[in-house]
Subunit: 66 residues, 6 copies
């Protein structure tokens, strides 16, 4: 019955990669807690780098200054 | 004062349907808990089927295999 | 496949009221969008009034000043 | 280590404004709780006015009726 | 930079199991997307079975009827 | 109309500190985006250090190893 929300910056994750995230996150809940995978829900949010901040700066800005 | 977040797959819900979800969810909180509807906030997120998983598979994949 | 998160202040909602919220929110998604209720997930969060703000004030403070 | 999620209606917030939100929210956690800003994460979600409801009505509809 | 939120019913997950969820979820993002684990944040929410619904019923009720 | 969710580890934030977070977050949205503070909602979640991970480790574990 778990619900997992994964937020990542929008950087071109492919449908195959997203499918792997969903499969892996579901399996993790089965392996660690013995959860029933049938009702496990995973939602992936892809967030623009302008909309994601870490350390008080946007990811857009952090990448420019690298 | 309630806050309700509804996540659905992006399947062409119309503005009218979204308005009904917002109206209905707000009314539910009024009916069941006597909440003040004025400050009830509802946010609907529409999620691509590649980004939604259930039972370890993406909805995209589940629909193909139907 | 919808996921619904309902946040309310912790004010003694009974198990029966929570069951009605879960039933009602699920039915709303069935009625408005024709969603399959079997995989509809509803999660209710109850939040202390010290931890909920509206208009820049905590609910604790708003209730005192009423 | 705080995580802050800011949801606003999609109304043309500029990258500069988003950067100010991220900077300000991070600073707030430093000022009030002495949190380490380095691991503070801020995520901004911009939501269509059709998908945001208050008082049981969509923001789209509330703005029309003003 | 990913953020992962895992919601599970409150069923006595141990600190060791939670540590495994956090480690596993972080590793998943590294393996699939090459994300930097240092800034990966995982938050686990444990939800009372009265507050979790699936198929329109609370988990409390579903377990009783098994 | 903004909604802000602040997640922090449960470390004894006082009601006064929470009130300052709520006031400050609301004011930030007014200052940067000219939002109406009246309908701004802020919800603070306090999360056990066992349930919060960064860099693949729980905060509980990170603090022990300091």
């Amino acid at each position: 019955m778990p619900y997992i929300n994964i937020k990542i910056t929008k950087d071109g994750a492919t449908p195959e990669q997203k499918a792997l995230l969903i499969k892996g996150a579901t399996q993790l809940l089965v392996d660690v807690l013995g959860k029933n995978p049938k009702t496990a829900v995973v939602v992936i949010d892809e967030v623009e780098t302008d909309n994601w901040g870490i350390g008080g700066q946007t990811v857009t800005s952090l990448r420019k200054n690298k």
